[in-house]
Amino acid sequence: MSQHKVFANRVRQFVWPQSRCPVCGSLHNGCGLCDQCHELLTKQNLCLHCPTIIPQGTVLCRECALGIKNPFLQGVSGYVYEGRLRNNILNFKYHNKSELHRPLALLLRELVEQRLPYQQFDLVLAVPVSKQTMERRGYNHMQLVADILAAELKLSTSPIALRRVRYTRKLNKLNRSEREKELVGAFNADSKRVFGKNILLIDDIFTTGATARACTEALLAAGSKSVYLATIASAVLQSNEKYRKQIDKTRACSDSLKL
């Protein structure tokens, strides 16, 4: 089944070719990451417990160091949420650029293969959107990514195993505690589909992790065996300005390494 889907994706790439790297925008042959960005992927220093990108030499991000517990076993993310990648994700979500699901799915595949090489997964699930959002956009953006990613990783996926049962306000204007409150009881997992499964949860950005935590809790409550999280990008919070600077320095460092 997934073989067919992989082939269908090859056909799509053939008929509607996309050859820009979703991260830096450079042209190259084929869909997905360019060589430079692929190299950068493994050089990012991730927090031990969550997908936040942190400066070289540190182990935990500030949140995790403060003792915030994440219910997922491990979280990984690819890049810092900025520049062209940020534009791409925004266009993908809000401006009808649904074609970006293919390069982003390939980005996530690379990420999973690099960062979670030994973990066994049964099911790829996308963080769901509410019915209203779905209606407005015309597509569930992360589910499009999950379809391709699942095919590429030879796993299965289901758009209905995890559902958003309640409409929530936009989170990006709220602070952490407000977010947690807003998301209580927002997700519901179908235990028939997820019971005893090892789950790979995917999302576009990791900000405070409130959404991911809510989803994971719902999945665990429905009896999932384990949940891993993979996100395309991790945001740098306003309060982490100091960290942001350090991350910039790291990028500069890795850039110079590349040369």
């Binding site: 799509r12 053939f14 008929v15 509607w16 070719p17 996309q18 050859s19 042209l27 042959n29 009808n96 650029k97 649904s98 074609e99 699901h101 209606e135 407005r136 956009r137 015309g138 597509y139 499009l144």
Partner: protein, 786 residues
């Protein structure tokens, strides 16, 4: 060394860019296969194919590139598809001139073919009461209203179209066959020629046909000019535009909006999507609504290659979002080309197909290049760059097919496109109102008529600007090929050039096209055109003067010889004006073409004899010459009418009587002798044997046999006296007069003198450098030194 590296880099970049558009690449390879199989000499074609295939296979073996394998397969597929002849168009089985009774269905509403004739495509079910399977035909008729789906019985004569073997002539029959039409039938028995016996065909098409008919009647209420332009722009019917108006539009370089094309479809699609307001989240509905309007328009205007191309591309573009993909221009144009060429590969060699795809491809491919080249603050920069990109790409093709080079188009196209957009939207709107039978449509059409008038006036204004359009000689295929390759390479090689260098590179294209191709520099050329039964000789002197001796003409009295044979020939040779026309005598097959030619090409001097003045055709000729400011010269025998270094043109025989009766015209033709160095050419018109007897003192090497090889123009004593190398009989295929007479052909066979015939050899060119003479024939049958 450095140059080599640069070339390597450019190649590398182009290769990468090509790999990024694999679908387009495959289509290109397929087209290359079709082209090689048809256009080239077989061994050369085989070499190229085998070489290319080996390279592609090596790439596959070495790099495991599946794209190379796919390219290899498509190259071979293209060659096979073309060479196998599965898609070879079929000709109508009935012979030329045969009278037939046909039963069948009209496939389109009748359209005006010229002032008093209409034409429509006809699907035959029975021929002469026998069941028939084969290609459709075009039926020409008079004064009948025929609509799609009418079941008819047609009595008519099969006419396969005259085929003249001249350089630059347009093969009408072939172009019909490529679009699936086997031949033409013209009705000839007056009122009984067409009998309607019922209604059939596809009900949907029938309904659309009715709407088109209604729309046509509504448009007919407009003033003539407005209705002709509106029909041209919206429906692609150019029949109502006069030849002169078409010439003006062609000179202004805006004829492209008179063929329904991508512009129209894009406008219809955009208007439809804006009006219905279907947003992105209902992508599937968008596809349906958009295609509904496009198909409606397609059915309304009929399927020419440009409309089909645009409709296929539109479908492909609208399909992409349904798969959550981004529409890709190159893939969609490749898709359209694939579909059309698999269906009918021979379209690849049709002007309409090439121009349509060339313009669309160039428009996108070169747009960025021109955006960067144009001044930064130019208003409407995108419009200009699009018009430049499309115009420059088709420039070599237009020069090759229509012998025209127009720069006015670059100036006008942005405005004309906007106007044409308005015209199409308004007309589409009125068509919809008509469909719903709302009364408002007449206002829409009236407003549309005004827009059309404006469009025509702007074009006419542009066409009379000096120096901005010209006739060019037909460039060789190789030049066109090289120029197109240059255009494709241009964005890559010129990437780091200065702006000035880029401008020079762009200007190189019109300059290359302005070169005098096919001229025989410093040599005399005497060419006998194939004008059917008639005589037309084109003389090009070493000094560059262009002279026409007689102009053919058809006995039916129509202008078609001048318009479709002589004018294209002159244009294809790059002749912009004639220095002399010489009329031998006022018979329709000699003077008809000359009279009809004058409106289309400026003539400096017209040479004839005073003795013919009593004749009607002669009067017409003189009036026309006066109307177009040609100086009239009445020549006498012995007069030298043209002199150049080594060359003289001498009237050796002219009527001596004051007034010649109609039956004596032939014998009194104006004969001229062209002497260049040691070589003499004698053109005799229709001289009789008596008059030839007076010319025995001449020493001509090449002679035009008088009176189309008729026995009464044959004078053995005269021919015996001449040191002949070759003789030419200007004669029509299967002419009813039995020309040339057996006695004439036998004489030349016996004397072992090369006898050329325009019916067998096509046009004949004698090229003379003063010492020796070389002959070329259009059929390629003979090419030799005499």
């Amino acid at each position: 060394m450095k140059l080599g590296q640069e070339a390597k880099q450019i190649l590398f970049k182009m290769r990468a860019a090509a790999r990024r558009q694999p679908f387009c690449l495959l289509a290109a390879v397929f087209i290359l296969g079709l082209f090689l199989a048809q256009a080239l000499w077989l061994p050369a074609c085989l070499c190229i194919i085998i070489g290319g295939a080996c390279l592609l296979l090596l790439e596959y073996a070495y790099k495991k590139s599946s794209l190379a394998l796919a390219m290899f397969c498509l190259l071979i597929l293209g060659v096979i598809w073309m060479a196998s002849g599965i898609t070879e168009p079929k000709a109508f089985i009935a012979g030329d001139g045969q009278e037939v009774k046909l039963c069948g269905t009209a496939l389109e509403n009748s359209q005006a073919a010229n002032e008093d004739t209409g034409a429509f495509r006809f699907k035959i079910e029975k021929m002469n009461d026998l069941y028939y399977r084969g290609p459709d035909v075009i039926v020409y008729y008079r004064d009948n209203k025929i609509y799609y789906g009418d079941k008819l019985i047609v009595f008519g004569t099969v006419w396969r179209g005259d085929k003249y073997g001249n350089p630059g002539s347009f093969d009408y029959l072939r172009s019909l066959q490529v679009s699936g039409i086997g031949g033409t039938v013209s009705t000839c028995y007056g009122d009984d020629a067409l009998i309607k016996v019922g209604i059939g065909g596809n009900p949907l098409l029938y309904a659309v046909g009715k709407i088109r008919a209604k729309l046509n009647t509504a448009i007919d209420d407009l003033p003539d000019l407005q209705s002709a332009v509106l029909k041209g722009v919206f429906l692609g019917e150019k029949g109502e535009l006069s030849k002169n108006q078409r010439e003006i539009l062609a000179n202004a370089g805006v004829l492209s909006v008179f063929a329904v094309s991508g512009l129209h479809i894009t406008i219809v699609l955009m208007a439809a999507l804006l009006l219905t307001g279907v947003s992105y989240r209902y992508r599937f509905w968008r596809l349906l609504v958009g295609m509904f309007f496009v198909v409606f328009y397609l059915l309304l205007v009929g399927n020419s290659p440009s409309v089909l191309r645009a409709a296929l591309m539109a479908a492909f573009v609208l399909l992409a979002p349904c798969f959550n993909e981004k529409a890709n221009f190159y893939s969609s144009i490749a898709f359209a080309a694939f579909v059309l060429l698999v269906y009918q590969p021979l379209q690849l060699f049709q002007a309409g197909f090439l121009l349509s795809f060339g313009a669309a491809f160039g428009l996108v491919y070169l747009n960025n290049f021109f955006l960067r080249l144009l001044p930064l603050r130019l208003p409407f920069k995108h419009l200009w760059s699009v018009s430049l990109a499309a115009g420059l790409t088709v420039m070599p093709l237009v020069a090759y097919y229509f012998y025209k080079l127009s720069f006015v188009g670059f100036l006008l196209m942005p405005f004309i496109n906007i106007l044409a957009g308005g015209v199409v939207v308004l007309a589409m709107f009125s068509a919809l109102l008509l469909t719903l039978s709302l009364p408002l449509y007449s206002f829409c059409i009236a407003a549309d008529g005004l827009l059309c008038e404006l469009l025509y006036r702007i074009s006419a204004w542009g066409a009379q600007l000096p120096f901005l359009h010209t006739t060019v000689a037909k460039p060789p295929l190789a030049v066109v090929f090289i120029l197109i390759c240059f255009l494709i390479l241009l964005p890559y090689i010129a990437e780091f050039w200065s702006r000035r260098a880029k401008v020079f590179a762009v200007l190189l294209i019109p300059v290359c096209l302005l070169l005098p191709y096919g001229s025989n520099c410093g040599k005399l050329e005497v060419s006998f055109l194939d004008v059917g039964q008639g005589l037309c000789v084109y003389i090009s002197t070493p000094g560059g003067a262009d002279i026409l001796y007689d102009g053919g003409g058809s006995f039916s009295g129509s202008d078609s010889i001048a318009e479709y044979v002589i004018l294209p020939y002159l244009q294809c040779r790059g002749v912009r004006e004639l220095d002399f026309i010489i009329s031998s005598h006022p018979h329709i097959d000699h003077i008809g073409g000359l009279t009809a030619l004058m409106p289309y090409i400026p003539v400096k001097k017209a040479v004839t004899s005073r003795s013919f003045c009593g004749n009607d055709l002669q009067q017409q000729f003189l009036h026309q010459a006066e109307a177009f400011n040609a100086q009239i010269i009445f020549a006498e025998a012995g007069e030298i009418i043209f002199k150049e270094n080594n060359l003289t043109i001498n009237v050796v025989c002219a009527p001596s009587l004051q007034h010649i009766k109609d039956e004596g015209l032939n014998e009194n033709s104006l004969a001229v002798l062209i002497s260049y160095g040691k070589q003499d050419f004698l053109l005799t018109g229709d001289l009789g044997s008596e008059q030839l007897a007076d010319l025995t003192s001449l020493e001509a090497e090449v002679i035009q046999i008088s009176h189309h090889g008729s026995a009464d123009g044959f004078n053995k004593r005269f021919y015996n006296s001449q040191p002949l190398l070759a003789a030419v009989v200007p004669v029509g295929r299967k002419n009813t007069f039995g020309h040339p007479a057996k006695i004439v052909t036998d004489y030349f066979t016996d004397r072992d003198i090369a006898l050329f015939r325009t019916d067998l050899d096509g046009a004949l060119s004698f090229i003379c450098n003063g010492k020796e003479i070389k002959v070329q024939s259009f059929s390629g049958r003979k090419e030799e030194f005499l």
